[in-house]
């Protein structure tokens, strides 16, 4: 039997190639994403072990606030500690270090660094020191208050050379420096695409943070003590009142690597999730190919059965074939995946995210898991068709043509409907209060039910969708319509991957449309001004608080108010605190205060959102103990509750931090102009004021609202990109099925050509069959996707998403795209169909 299996494989190279193709694609995405995230991980690991190579000890504050999303804000330490540390026996040198927001303005006046979610822009210390993180590759170290050094990539992108004047914006405002040196970090031009402006310690502290304060101290030992002993000695030498800790070089390296690792792991999980979805879609394609090939070999198998092969032997033959296909496909997929990740890295380098060289990381794990998963998936997908092949009655050898038994079984009908109804019931329970975590099960059941019912739905729906083709394309359309309906199982198996892809795309689009709609409504209702100044630096740096003050001095401006953003600790948990300026915010932004006015917000007060108040079960008059980044806990009395929690859970007075070491930026400044102010003059005045800071974009109200919802587009783009993997596989699925159908219909095609069908008519027929199949998947996918989107929006009700918006435009686009996908997938199969040799086709008996 094994020999027969091998012969079967070699005898049908085309089929082997087509089946392997599905496996190759699925596994290559898996391997590619895995290699890529491993490479990224190792890259950063190496980078930091390199950077901290000569740092023996690392001193920092123990006072830290961890926010909701893993970010942390650590208190700063005073300069006098540096001298303390230097005196510790075993220390050869110690330098203070600070890392804070700074944005370099390019020669053309445009700030460097990418907008939005791109890598951060930093200012830091560069100082000649054994354990220095930076090395100067050109020019000098920055020494005085007018000196700056830039990382290599920033210097290049900003078109700066040593000697130029460089403008940098930081917490304390914008300032001009002279470029004295170009620096590099480890062996890269700039770490992870971030930009760096580097100063001597005094300037860095004063310009980037607060005078005399630093983030940490880098220490290098004289070799007389081990790193651990040195750290202990330093720790002992620093009085407890400073609340510091001392780490060894190895510890800080590991910690930094961990931080980067967990940030990257989110990205890795995202990649992995979508490549698994793609692989799942690939399963359908593999299953379909094995089913078709079992059907096409029905006569051959029946003959084997007739001459004495057992069911088991037939089944085993097909399984052996699937093992071979799985193995070969996975190995090729692995190689293709490595190529794919090389492409991805090249892409990143092209957009200036520098990855230190060192080659791709192809871990043993990647190799083994890719091959095993590929093998398992292939064999699992082949089990059902193989069993079915074994069940072929010997009599089938005498039957005329290979036909898949298409009668819609009662069992299928019942299973499908039961699954859908159960799924809807589960979703219903969630809607009426059950936990959201059951939602996944409900959705999965509906999907499974739809796919089980597929073969039953396929025929009527394909016939319906094929109507226009039949009407307008004459006989070729009629035949395409009939062909797409002649083998409902096959058609539905081909359409299923399209269905899944389209459903996911539609759901994500519906979700995005709803979020955008909501943003639009909310901002239109709450923002009462005319202009906004926004910044892309989210959560890290931002607009100087003095900008709003400057703007209020303009004659055209009635009011300008800034919203700030602080990370604080409330009840032991990191929280975001939004700060507003009560004198100016009134009438510009409405947060929906209940029985309170902005005037009630003194520096000793805090406002809570209605939701937060409910959750914490506190009300006006309660005291909220709030720990700020300076380590000081301030008791804030609740003096108001507001409804519009889009602004955040907590609101405080921006003057609260005046005169404290707490660093505060505005994330946005909102402006209401005076009635009757000349528009052009207003814009000119505002623009000039903003330009002074070199940071922030002036936007009209509508532009601002569009920008807010535009951020959803970025995420949408990323998810679309990842879903492309699944879409590609479903396209390949259509191509493979069409090709197999064309092979199977050789005789019919020969006959048609003999009685006068031209090549272009043959092409048209195949093309429309493909379009109908693709649209079948798209229509069902859109229906499911809209349902899914609606359910997700509902589930996010607690997150503040209140209204579902039907993405009408995008839905039409998806339909048109599916149509194009159908046309595209048909190109090669249609060409093959025209190459059928009439005589050969007629002679095969």
């Amino acid at each position: 039997m094994f020999r027969i299996a091998i012969k079967g494989i070699l005898g049908r190279k085309a089929r082997l190639i087509l089946t392997s193709l599905a496996v190759i694609l699925g596994t290559s995405f898996l391997a590619g994403t895995s290699v890529f995230s491993d490479t990224l991980n190792r890259t950063f690991d190496n980078l930091f072990s390199d950077v901290f190579k000569n740092v023996d000890s690392y001193v920092r504050s123990t006072q830290v606030i961890e926010g909701n999303f893993g970010q942390e804000e650590r208190q700063r330490i005073p300069l006098e500690l540096v001298d303390l540390v230097k005196k510790v026996p075993g220390v050869s040198d110690a330098v203070p270090d600070v890392q804070a927001f700074a944005r370099i303005i390019g020669k053309d006046g445009k700030p460097l660094g990418s907008d939005g979610q791109g890598p951060p822009t930093f200012g830091s210390v560069a100082m000649k020191f054994k354990g220095a993180l930076w090395t100067i590759s050109q020019g000098e170290w920055p020494m005085g208050p007018k000196d700056v050094a830039l990382d290599e990539a920033s210097a290049k992108n900003g078109k700066y050379v040593v000697g130029d004047t460089v403008k940098v914006v930081a917490q304390s405002g914008s300032r001009e420096f002279t470029l004295v040196g170009i620096a590099s970090y480890g062996d890269v031009r700039s770490p992870g695409g971030a930009t760096f402006a580097l100063f001597d310690p005094t300037t860095a502290s004063e310009f980037l943070a607060k005078p005399g304060l630093f983030d940490d101290i880098l220490v290098s030992g004289d070799g007389s003590k081990s790193d651990v002993e040195l750290a202990k000695a330093i720790n002992a030498a620093i009085p407890a009142k400073y609340k510091t800790e001392t780490l060894t070089g190895a510890q800080i390296t590991a910690e930094t690597q961990d931080q980067i690792g967990s940030a990257l792991s989110f990205f890795g999980i995202l990649l992995k999730t979508f490549s698994f979805i793609a692989l799942g879609v690939g399963c359908f394609v593999i299953y379909n190919v094995f089913s078709i090939s079992a059907a096409q070999r029905q006569r051959e198998n029946a003959l084997l059965r007739a001459i004495g092969a057992s069911r088991k032997q037939i089944t085993r033959t097909m399984l052996i074939e699937s093992i071979a296909v799985g193995l070969i496909g996975s190995i090729i997929g692995l190689v293709a995946g490595i190529g794919l990740s090389a492409g991805l890295s090249a892409l990143l380098r092209a957009v200036n995210i520098d990855i230190p060289n060192g080659g791709l990381v192809v871990s043993q794990n990647t190799v083994v898991s890719t091959i095993i998963i590929g093998l398992i998936v292939t064999v699992l997908s082949a089990i059902l068709p193989a069993r079915r092949a074994g069940k072929v009655p010997p009599l089938a050898a005498m039957r005329a043509t290979a036909l898949e038994i298409a009668a819609p079984g009662r069992k299928r009908l019942i299973t499908g409907f039961a699954s859908i109804i159960l799924g809807i019931a589960v979703v219903g329970f969630v809607m009426s209060g059950a936990s959201n975590s059951y939602l996944g099960i409900g959705i999965l059941l509906v999907f499974i039910g739809t796919i089980v019912l597929g073969p039953i739905i396929a025929r009527p729906v394909a016939l319906f969708l094929g109507r226009p083709a039949a009407r307008f394309r004459g006989i070729t359309g009629v035949m395409a319509r009939q062909n797409s309906a002649r083998n409902p199982k096959r058609t539905s198996r081909t359409a299923s991957p399209v269905l899944i892809g389209v459903a996911l795309v539609t759901a994500v689009t519906a979700l995005a449309a709803s979020i955008k709609g909501q943003i639009d409504d909310v901002f239109t209702a709450q923002f009462k001004g005319d202009y906004a100044i926004s910044t892309d630096a989210r959560g890290f740096g931002g607009l100087s608080p003095t900008l709003a003050i400057d703007l209020n001095k303009l004659p055209q401006v009635e009011k300008a108010t800034g919203f700030g953003f602080l990370t604080v600790k409330i009840d032991g948990k990191g929280q975001y605190l939004t700060t507003v300026t009560p004198e100016t915010v009134d009438g510009v932004w409405d947060i929906g205060l209940i029985n309170a006015t902005y005037a009630d917000l003194k520096t000793s007060n805090i406002f809570l959102s209605e939701k937060t108040a409910k959750r914490k079960n506190i009300s006006v008059g309660a005291v909220v103990q709030t720990t700020f980044a300076d380590g000081v806990t301030r008791p804030l009395t609740v003096s108001g509750i507001y409804v519009n929690n889009e602004i955040g859970d907590y609101v405080a007075n921006s003057h609260l931090v005046d005169g404290t070491p707490v660093v505060m930026f505005d994330v946005g400044v909102y402006i209401k102009t005076k009635a009757g102010a000349d528009k052009a003059e207003t814009v000119a005045a505002l623009t000039a004021a903003v330009k002074k800071y070199g940071q922030g974009d002036l936007l009209t109200k509508q532009e601002y609202i569009n920008k807010q919802s535009g951020q959803v587009n970025q995420l949408l783009g990323l998810i679309y990109g990842l879903l492309m993997l699944s879409v590609i596989i479903s396209i390949v699925g259509i191509i493979i099925t069409l090709l197999l159908s064309v092979f199977e219909r050789q005789r019919e095609l020969g006959l048609l050509r003999a009685v006068g069908m031209t090549r272009s008519q043959v092409r048209t027929t195949v093309r429309w069959e493909s379009v109908i199949t693709s649209l079948l998947g798209a229509v069902l996918g859109i229906i499911l996707g809209i349902g899914l989107g609606w359910v997700i929006v509902f589930a996010l009700k607690d997150q503040g998403l209140t209204s579902f918006k039907l993405p009408v435009g995008p839905t039409i686009v998806i339909m048109v795209m599916s149509f194009i996908v159908g046309l595209f997938a048909a190109i090669y199969p249609a060409w093959r169909a025209t190459r059928v040799n009439i005589l050969d086709a007629l002679n095969t008996n």
């Binding site: 009939q482 002649r486 006959l751 048609l752 050509r753 003999a754 009685v755 007629l842 008996n845």
Partner: protein, 246 residues
Amino acid sequence: MTPQTSTIAASAISATKVYGSGEDAVYALRDVSVDFYEGQFTAIMGPSGSGKSTLMHCIAGLDELSSGSAIIDGTDLSTMKDKELTELRREKIGFVFQSFNLVPTLTANENIRLPLMLGNNKGDEAWIQKVIGTVHLQDRLTHRPSELSGGQQQRVAVARALASQPRIIFADEPTGNLDSITGAEILTFMRKAVDDLGQTIVMVTHDPVAAAYADRIIFLADGHVVNEMTEPTAARVLDLMKSLGN
């Protein structure tokens, strides 16, 4: 029988067909010259491998001759491109094959009109109705081939060949897969098409009884025309075949 007319519907002139080359060359046709007259029912007979199908395929534009020419309606097929040949087959030639004659997804009616529909041609409706009536398919028109018997399927195939009023119909063993009674039905019908509708038919067959329905028989052997008979009867055909066999 029909009076012999002198109009030539199709012909082969010094037709030679070679498969392969050198020592392995197989001559399917050697210098065959033959004319098929309009309004005549011609049968081609000969032992297996004698080149009957090859001759038919070459004259019908399904295959190319190695040398010599095939002419239909005054046009030399070797000068035509694939698209022109396809259109020629669609408009001027009708086909009936031994089996697998019909497109399984189309109804009998659609199969009958297939060549016309492919040419975006409505055809002569009165004529089509007459053809359908003659083959007694009125109440089977909406059926698909899988719902028809073998004989009915062949009748649909013959109706298809006639529906577009081609210059000539080629039938390769049209009754080869049928029992003798159903076969006789089809042959009677083809005969009627020639007599009543004025069709031109060329039929390949092994069966002397089938051949006896024709006006004229061409005998092939080893790629040559070896004999010819007009107004045949089954007995005479059988006799001749025996003598050729010697």
